[in-house]
């Protein structure tokens, strides 16, 4: 019996020739990411009296969730993380100016096809956009991997999602994923590894693949894979310090999949996730017209350069509705620089938006909080009750295009009604 991508990567990282679904293996990750939670892992290390790391080169630390510090406690916690990185020689350290961990690590060439990456964030699944197995763990488990180099992992069953066709104008991978999450449910792929195939995939930019791999978490996946191709190689060219790290892993032709889902993406419409679950999705026509108070263009799902460009194309020549606060939080410093140099940032500012420093921002409740009764449309990946402040506020999720159109109109609006320049 052949193996899926997840089986192959987990077998390799556990030093085995094969791994079957359901089997528990001891795997050695290539990279352990910790974000703002790093100080918590350091506190566990101190508590148990550990003083040695398995391999400091396998650690990556990015201070993204609260950046810069908002309180004395944040400042002290971040100081713990900085001091730890210095003391143990953790060179992959990115401070509060850098941006969201996932995007920063991929931009910096720390993620390669075939890698096994764990980290203190559920959206580590995004690394599958480059063919790496990424998955989230808690901070105590991060400490454990820091010290022992390994963790137990159950080999998942795999699901195949096959995409055919091309998106209609105004439709993006965010809409595809909201459609899929609505169709399959919040636990539709719980514990599963999902592999994306089909004629559409080679057309999709790496940025759109990142959105797919990021949002798949909201179906409960353990990991996701977009099998590496020329676009992957192109993205990583000049990023990977050592090209030998490019070890693309593909499934065997006779690999076993629990089920297969086919989607003709040319039939998709812009989609919106309604409060308070991501699976509560509706086509734009059913929610258009609902008033919004805040529009948040940010998060590891949709604050990449292409996302900012998409929003700017719609906002150009328009004004944000006077009753709407448009908050733009670029995903990383690199993205912000690119948007500055290309003029995209200027369009976003001139249209009436405000631009914050890069990072997780309002998605993680760091600025941009909501009051009782307020409504936010967000390009993030979660709309859970109370996530952005008041538990009497409502969060809707959409693509950057739908967000831009809605910010102009002051109500949730169909981006297809806007002529892009």
């Amino acid at each position: 019996m052949g193996m899926t991508i997840a089986q192959k990567i987990l077998a390799t990282k556990a030093g085995l020739s094969t791994a079957v679904p359901g089997e528990i293996v001891e795997a050695y990750p290539d990279l352990v990411m910790s974000h703002t939670a790093t100080w918590r892992s350091v506190s566990v290390m101190n508590k148990i009296g550990a003083t040695t790391l398995f391999d400091p080169d396998r650690l990556a630390i990015v201070l993204d969730h609260i950046s810069p510090a908002k309180s004395e406690k944040n400042a002290a916690d971040q100081q713990v993380s900085r001091n730890f990185a210095k003391k143990y020689g953790v060179h992959k350290f990115y401070d509060v100016d850098s941006g969201i961990a996932h995007l920063v690590l991929m931009e910096a060439g720390h993620v390669a096809p075939g890698d096994l990456i764990v980290g203190t964030d559920s959206h580590c699944t995004i690394y599958g956009s480059l063919g790496a197995l990424g998955t989230g763990i808690g901070y105590t488990e991060v400490t454990s991997v820091w010290i022992t180099g390994k963790l137990w992992m159950k080999v998942p069953e795999s699901v195949k999602i096959v995409l055919d066709g091309r998106y209609a104008s105004g439709v993006y991978s965010k809409d595809l994923m909201l459609y899929l999450i609505g169709k399959l449910g919040a636990d539709g792929c719980n514990y599963k590894s999902v592999e994306f195939y089909g004629s559409s995939v080679s057309d999709l930019s790496v940025s759109e693949r990142m959105t797919i791999a990021n949002l798949a978490m909201e179906m409960g996946v353990k990991c996701v894979f977009v099998p590496p191709d020329e676009k992957t190689r192109e993205y990583l060219k000049g990023r990977l310090q050592d090209q030998a790290r490019y070890r693309a892993v593909y499934a065997d032709p006779d690999a076993r999949y629990q089920n297969e889902v086919r989607v003709d993406i040319s039939r998709l419409e812009p989609m919106v996730a309604c409060p308070h679950e991501v699976q509560n999705t509706k086509p734009i026509g059913e929610v258009a017209g609902r008033r919004i108070d805040q529009a948040f263009l940010g998060s590891c799902a949709n604050a990449k350069y292409e996302d900012l460009v998409t929003a700017a194309q719609i906002l150009k020549g328009h004004r944000v509705h006077p009753d709407v606060r448009l908050i733009i939080t670029p995903g990383s410093k690199q993205i912000m620089l690119e948007a500055m140099n290309s003029g995209v940032l200027q369009i976003l500012l001139e249209s009436g938006g405000m631009v914050t420093n890069p990072g997780c921002g309002a998605c993680a409740g760091d600025g941009g909080m909501l009051a009782d009764g307020e409504v936010c449309l967000s390009t993030a990946n979660r709309n859970f009750l109370g996530r952005m402040g008041s538990s009497k506020a409502q969060i809707y999720l959409s693509s950057p295009a739908t967000l831009a159109a809605s910010a102009i109109e002051g109500v949730i609006s169909d981006p297809r009604e806007f002529q892009t320049t």
């Binding site: 808690g138 901070y139 105590t140 400490t143």
Partner: protein, 168 residues
């Protein structure tokens, strides 16, 4: 960790996410008692206080979905909850609960049979749940994983590993 867990049940539905269990703004804390003061508070003014009258949570599918925040398990432990029985768990919560020393049991048949306030007895060694005049079997955890739980969590387990010679 005791092999027998007994107590009154509070019942939740499907897809209880970790933002509801503990909102992100409290992740600056890691202490169980402090976190528990805000556990489930978005569900209404009587939360979390009312949960302190219960010892076991019974939930539907996909309990703990969403964020990988370990404090979701810590906060529930801080409420005095001794076990969670769900039809299924999200994988991140499942790992975090084990690593935090909070017993979790997958038993899809129990949810429909149980009502809030019912008494449950869980025998971890026998892998059985006793409810009214019935009992329900659940799959035992793998030995390696049960070892972590029995030590009270991953930190304690890790400490014992430090004193033995490294394997590599």
């Amino acid at each position: 960790m005791e092999s027998i867990i007994q107590g009154r049940v509070y019942k939740f539905g499907d897809n209880i996410n970790s933002d509801v269990i503990i909102p992100g703004r409290y992740l600056i804390y890691i202490d169980a008692e402090r976190l528990s003061q805000h556990a489930f508070e978005v569900l209404g003014d009587d939360f979390p206080a009312k949960l302190r009258n219960y010892q076991i949570l019974v939930a539907g599918r996909n309990f703990g979905c969403g964020s990988a925040r370990e404090q979701a398990a810590t906060a529930i432990r801080g409420l005095g909850i001794n076990a969670i029985v769900a039809s299924s768990f999200s994988r991140t919560f499942y790992r975090n609960a084990i690593n935090d020393g909070l017993p979790i049991i997958e038993c899809p048949d129990l949810h429909a049979a149980v009502e809030e306030g019912d008494d449950l007895r869980i025998d971890l060694a026998q892998a059985l749940i006793f409810h009214r005049d019935r009992h329900y079997a659940f799959p035992k955890l793998p030995d390696s994983v049960r070892g972590i739980l029995e030590m009270g969590g991953l930190a304690a387990y890790l400490k014992t590993q430090l004193t033995s010679p490294p394997r590599l």
